[in-house]
């Protein structure tokens, strides 16, 4: 039994391999880029618009709304990054209804790559927004003692992002593989439907967590006003 789609190898020459993960990732990238290009080619600003443009507008405006809800007041800046992550993970998990398809997010390498993107995007957006010195100073909040813990949390949350997505996707595939050998008639279909739901929820959570991390890094923290001593004789 294979644990990840990495072990399905289609082509190999020396150390260079093309496995199922790479191939499906390429196919997804191609599909997403081509479909959005095709829809965006004949966009109209008037009332007459195509169905596909409506679909795209619904997706984009909803992602924007979610980003605003998380606490980033200018969603357009982050839409490219967060929206791409969401669409990729969501499409990767929805495509599991295609027979013979193995979701690339069920491989630890894909999820690690996505988590690393978040890991590097957080300081990038943070420095862009509040400047290098105040971003670096945010690691020393609330006190200097918290510096190592803040750095550890930076690394561990990246690990958690990668493992969470991988674990959810892998366990869905694995449960179906086990169920097919035990009760092959109806039950795997129900689990597949549950897997679709889990995939969408995980895509949403990955995006929201990335947005939360970016929001935490770009937040301008005002210096606290000095405490005003209360005069006792006035009370």
């Amino acid at each position: 039994m294979q644990l990840s789609p990495d072990s399905i190898i289609y082509w190999q020459s020396g150390p260079w391999k093309i496995n199922s993960t790479i191939l499906t990732t390429w196919a997804l990238i191609f599909f997403l880029t081509l479909s959005s290009k095709l829809i965006a080619r004949k966009m109209s600003a008037g009332i007459e618009r195509s169905r596909w443009q409506n679909l795209l507008e619904i997706i984009v405006s909803n992602i924007e709304k979610q980003i605003v809800d998380v606490g980033l007041s200018e969603p357009r800046k982050y839409l490219g990054f967060l929206g791409t992550i969401f669409l990729f993970i969501a499409t990767a998990s929805v495509c599991t209804i295609i027979p013979g398809y193995e979701t690339p997010t069920g491989s630890l390498s894909t999820t690690t790559a996505l988590a690393l993107c978040v890991f590097f995007a957080v300081p990038f957006f943070g420095i862009n927004e509040i400047g290098l010195s105040s971003y670096l100073r945010s690691y020393m909040r609330p006190t200097f003692i918290m510096l190592p813990f803040n750095i550890i949390s930076e690394v561990s949350r990246t690990l958690a992002l990668a493992i969470r997505l991988f674990g959810n996707m892998m366990s869905g595939t694995l449960i179906i593989a086990i169920l097919v050998s035990v009760t092959p008639l109806l039950f795997p279909i129900i689990m597949r439907a549950l897997g679709l739901l889990t995939g969408m929820v995980q895509a949403y959570i990955f995006t929201v967590l990335a947005a939360v991390y970016i929001a935490a890094a770009t937040r301008v923290i005002k210096p606290q006003p000095p405490l005003i001593p209360i005069k006792k004789e006035n009370i």
């Binding site: 809800d69 493992i163 969470r164």
Partner: protein
């Protein structure tokens, strides 16, 4: 008992134990979280979107601890590094 048997027995036992114990905590925690969310939904139906979103994110965070245990036990059963090392050593002899 040879070392491969010991590795196999320990791996299987620990895989089962880690999954079962790893499921207890998140199950209790998720139950509490959902109960609290339902209560606040009943009290403030207007805030349902915020509560639901926070609930989903929180549930995923809680569930990820169970997922870690699952990943550990899956590694122990299907991709055990000690087992692989021992098998490779035995073949080398």
């Amino acid at each position: 008992m040879s070392s491969s048997t010991i590795i196999a027995v320990v791996s299987i036992l620990i895989a089962g134990i880690s999954t079962s114990f790893g499921a207890i905590g998140p199950a209790l925690a998720e139950g509490r979280a959902v109960a609290a969310a339902l209560q606040s939904l009943a009290q403030q139906p207007d805030a349902s979107t915020t509560i639901t979103r926070t609930l989903f994110v929180g549930l995923a965070m809680i569930e990820s601890t169970a997922i870690y245990c699952l990943v550990v036990s899956m590694i122990l059963i299907f991709a055990n590094p000690f087992w692989n090392h021992f098998i490779a050593e035995n073949i080398g002899k």
